[in-house]
Symmetry: C2
Subunit: 584 residues, 2 copies
């Protein structure tokens, strides 16, 4: 061992001990006859002191003065109490009076500063990710990730779950996103696919009687990338047998509570449950950010029929009440109008109404509405003096709700209601079984085609399939869907009917899903499960804007690892062995 | 929840409780007016009793009689003490007097019996792996795997290691085995590679100051498969900074001890250490099975020069002493001779010598050797009356040692000295840095090119590189290499010299390894690590002959998952998107 202590552990109680430390030179400060060095490792920073004096001291002093940033050194010395203590550092009461110094490795000047507040841009930090990871703010995210994964395993192991590794080289997924594929050398012209999720394998493990399965597992999707998507991502994948929806909600509410308690020290209250239709109605989103209220109020009854053609012709009119925002300036209101008109939001315009100090309401469409109607508007929101009502309308209720949802989130941010250190968790339940696809011109499975309908809605499969609700559920935290799943169909007849509604002939269903359906013939238990996105979950706990910051070696928007230089060309020899070639 | 109890938990203390169980029908036994059903789940087997009697009882009795093997059922009833108890089962004191029975799912007759001693052959069990996994002997291996992985994580977390996920989509490995590759859709003509190990990434994490890293991680090698190889396998991958070899040996000896204690209840003694050269000299193997002694004795001094040309011309003569095997029949000795002459072993013949009850030695080459010489032979082994000495010779010492090693293992097996329930662990240390490759006609890195030489051998790099020993080590248990690793080079000059001896010009070294060498310029700490093969480790603990039995969904020798039907063809559309095509 090159050290007796880490750079994070020495305290006043250690004074006068001889210690050896090793680490990186964070900073060299020369102050006349003294030189101070901050020595850094994963565990902390310890101050080293070099003072001019006798021959040996002078030699060390000179040596210390030559050290550059990020040199790796080993020092031996005595722990001493500091004259001027640093209360910011856990080791700030002491310093090391160095008696021996050895350079273990010199360092070239790094291309950016290794500080939380670095001068390095995103591109250079990704290229030198191994240096970026030295910054304690980045490393702490990965420490958190380790801790969360560890606590997930502790909890699930304690609940009798078995972690089972499923293969990475599998076959293509029917009905999924685009797969990454791997040419097989031993099976000419054939390809493995990388799993988008272990969905089918975990259901097979239930057929096998594993009863409670989980896995923290890499999954892969060859989709065009957005800020919050990576081609490889990590799921906490879970499945249970002989359970109903309530059992799953209880179990994983327990897991979430365990994480909040052990990682954040937070006693999470029982998770509220919101139906999907309420989430859409009141928040315009299936993953509402419930850190703040600001629910939608529908205004068709209040505002229609007064000659304002925009509203009179609308299929939906709805609004939100922003507490205390009546003081918004013209400029701020214009910014909001611009915000809703951005193509990403897509509204045509924004109507507002201020509640004045005397209780009267002033709106941007005053000429159409009497004060009496505006007071009805105010009552619909129970708005108080100083509040600002913001109203959107449109000819498609669902689209307008989504626009209003964006506006609500924007107002939440502007009013400081989306504090990253505050957590609001809920279950969204009763998702629809199907959603209409304009592209495919058919009903598609909203969750996946093995999701079970709610028993009371089964008769609707024949009469009104679009109205059937599923035993499907999402866990939402601060407006982020961190997990989701469903109870699966274990009855072959019901499964056939669900496929039929999806537009599959029995032959097509057999071709696409026959493998799993056949397995189910040999005694499938009732089962269900869910999967959490670990990257998102960690990001939420770390208060990050992007999942990239909690991934050690992430890929960029072109799917490239710029540090490794992957992907890259391969040898002709290897392509020949694989019996493939590239084409333009 | 479909049950109040599992099939493994009810005991006499539960008598007269009303319970609900769910599981699979293992067996139906009809005995006149009684029908007994063994109901199975992951946790055990509980007996259900159905007796004729009143109308309700008769209906249940009839229903029970119609149940087939592997039906999934739910029953409610009263826990009763059994008349004839079954001491083989933890639940064998009780049975359930069933008052309600529901078939949750019927089952087709499975293609083989779901019993430990099944009638299904390997092929059909792999095709229906989800049914094979129902057999408790198979499931127990995966339960063990879960437990071992969990305990590895507990130990390493306790020692301050961070589990960091490294990417699966990386770049090709220089100097490694064949990579699996993944065409990149977004980067035309380019390919990702799947990692053979996270070697470079874990060394980068040390450069990043992560200090203690581990990961239980899938690795991939596109090699031709043998019994004990899978295209994807799992490593316990570890790396530490500021350590010397001794620190790593201590840390992972501790981990191994923790596993033996928590999983097997065994207090493992301190691991002996054997140099690589002793392992080769005394066992002819770098992974000696030390459950039994039977060390090699070299016999050049004893047996040369008596006119037996086979020995007189040999470069190596060596033997082993099989205790108590002097009673071997002619037939048994012929079998041994055939064994060593098999092409897989490759010896030309076998000489034996028996120590008779009176102490005289009878050998198969008596006509060349006097009793006096044969007594010297006996003394060389300290052989006792009843012992059998087996001797091989050849013109290549290393090859002959390997043959003798095979013979030693064979004799160990025949004499019952390789008990799967007995464990003998050791470290093999001081591996050579280089080994000569006839194929490449150059020295190759025995471990990998970043392995550090022993400091005292560094001068030999200039004079006799083949004699340089490395700071490399393997952990061997029962003749299986379960783990291995090395201290890495952190000094750029030393690394250059090592590359030079491997025959790389500075340009070639830069092209192949420049990325890591550049990273090292920014302050690399001294570091080292090792990796365990989890599949092998679990197999050893489970006493399995093949790693396949501890993998949920293994691949066959053609790299196929016969259950999933992977690999398989992919759509032309997908190939077009990837800009690749297959060629004959």
């Amino acid at each position: 061992m090159y050290r007796t202590s880490t750079c994070g552990e020495l305290r006043l109680a250690d004074v006068n001990k001889q210690v050896t430390l090793a680490g990186w030179v964070q900073r060299v400060r020369k102050m006349g006859g003294m030189t101070f060095i901050d020595l850094r490792d994963r565990y902390g920073i310890t101050q080293l002191a070099f003072e001019q004096g006798n021959e040996q001291q002078n030699a060390l002093f000179e040596q210390a003065g030559k050290l550059g940033r990020e040199y790796v050194i080993q020092v031996t010395g005595l722990v001493k109490e500091r004259y001027s203590k640093n209360e910011q550092l856990p080791t700030g009461d002491i310093e090391i009076e160095v008696t021996a110094l050895k350079v273990l490795n010199p360092a070239a000047v790094p291309p950016f500063t290794i500080e939380d507040d670095t001068d390095g841009g995103d591109d250079i930090r990704m290229k030198y990710r191994y240096l970026d990871l030295r910054r304690s703010c980045v490393r702490k995210n990965l420490e958190l990730r380790h801790k969360m994964a560890f606590e997930v395993r502790s909890y699930l192991d304690g609940q009798g779950f078995l972690e089972v590794e499923t293969p990475v080289l599998v076959n293509s997924t029917p009905e999924g996103a685009r797969d990454f594929v791997v040419p097989s050398r031993m099976n000419e012209g054939q390809f493995y696919a990388l799993p988008q999720s272990p969905q089918i394998l975990k259901q097979l493990l239930m057929v096998s009687g594993f009863d409670r399965y989980f896995q923290i597992v890499k999954c892969f999707r060859d989709e065009d990338l957005r800020a919050d998507r990576q081609p490889e991502f990590t799921q906490i994948d879970c499945e249970m047998s002989f359970v109903e929806q309530e059992d799953i909600l209880q179990m994983f509410e327990g897991m979430t509570r365990h994480l909040f308690k052990t990682i954040k020290g937070i006693d999470l209250p029982a998770l509220p449950r919101m139906t999907w239709s309420d989430a859409m109605k009141y928040y315009g989103s299936d993953k509402p950010d419930t850190r703040f209220d600001m629910r939608f109020v529908e205004l068709m009854d209040v505002l229609k029929g007064y000659g304002f053609s925009v509203f009179d012709e609308a299929a939906y009119i709805g609004g939100i009440c922003a507490k205390g925002a009546a003081s918004y300036t013209r400029k701020q209101l214009d910014q909001l109008t611009e915000f809703v008109k951005r193509p990403q939001v897509g509204a045509k315009g924004l109507v507002y109404a201020r509640v004045e100090a005397d209780g009267t309401v002033k709106s941007s469409v005053d000429k159409f509405y009497s004060q009496e109607v505006l007071q009805q508007l105010r009552q619909a929101f129970d708005a108080q003096p100083g509040d600002l009502i913001l109203i959107l309308s449109g000819d498609d209720a669902n689209k307008t709700r989504k626009q209003l949802s964006e506006l609500r989130l924007e107002m939440g941010s502007r009013l400081g209601l989306r504090d990253k250190n505050k957590y609001s968790c809920l279950w969204v339940i009763d998702f629809p079984m199907y959603e209409w696809s304009d592209e495919e011109q058919r009903l598609m499975a909203m969750h996946h085609p093995f999701t079970s309908p709610k028993p009371e809605d089964i008769p609707l499969l024949d009469t009104d399939p679009a109205a059937v609700r599923a035993n499907a559920y999402d866990m939402v935290i601060n407006g982020v869907e961190v997990g989701g799943g469903s109870i699966r169909i274990h009855d072959a007849k019901l499964q056939e009917k669900v496929f039929e509604i999806l537009g599959f002939t029995p032959e097509q269903a057999q071709a696409k899903f026959g493998f799993l359906m056949n397995a189910f013939k040999y005694g499938a238990p009732p089962h269900g499960g869910l999967a959490y996105g670990l990257d998102r979950f960690v990001s939420l706990f770390a208060g990050l804007d992007s999942i990239r910051d909690c991934i050690a070696f992430p890929k960029n928007n072109q799917g490239r690892d710029v540090m490794l230089g992957a992907p890259g060309p391969i040898d002709q020899k290897q392509m020949d062995e694989l019996k493939i070639k590239t084409v333009k």
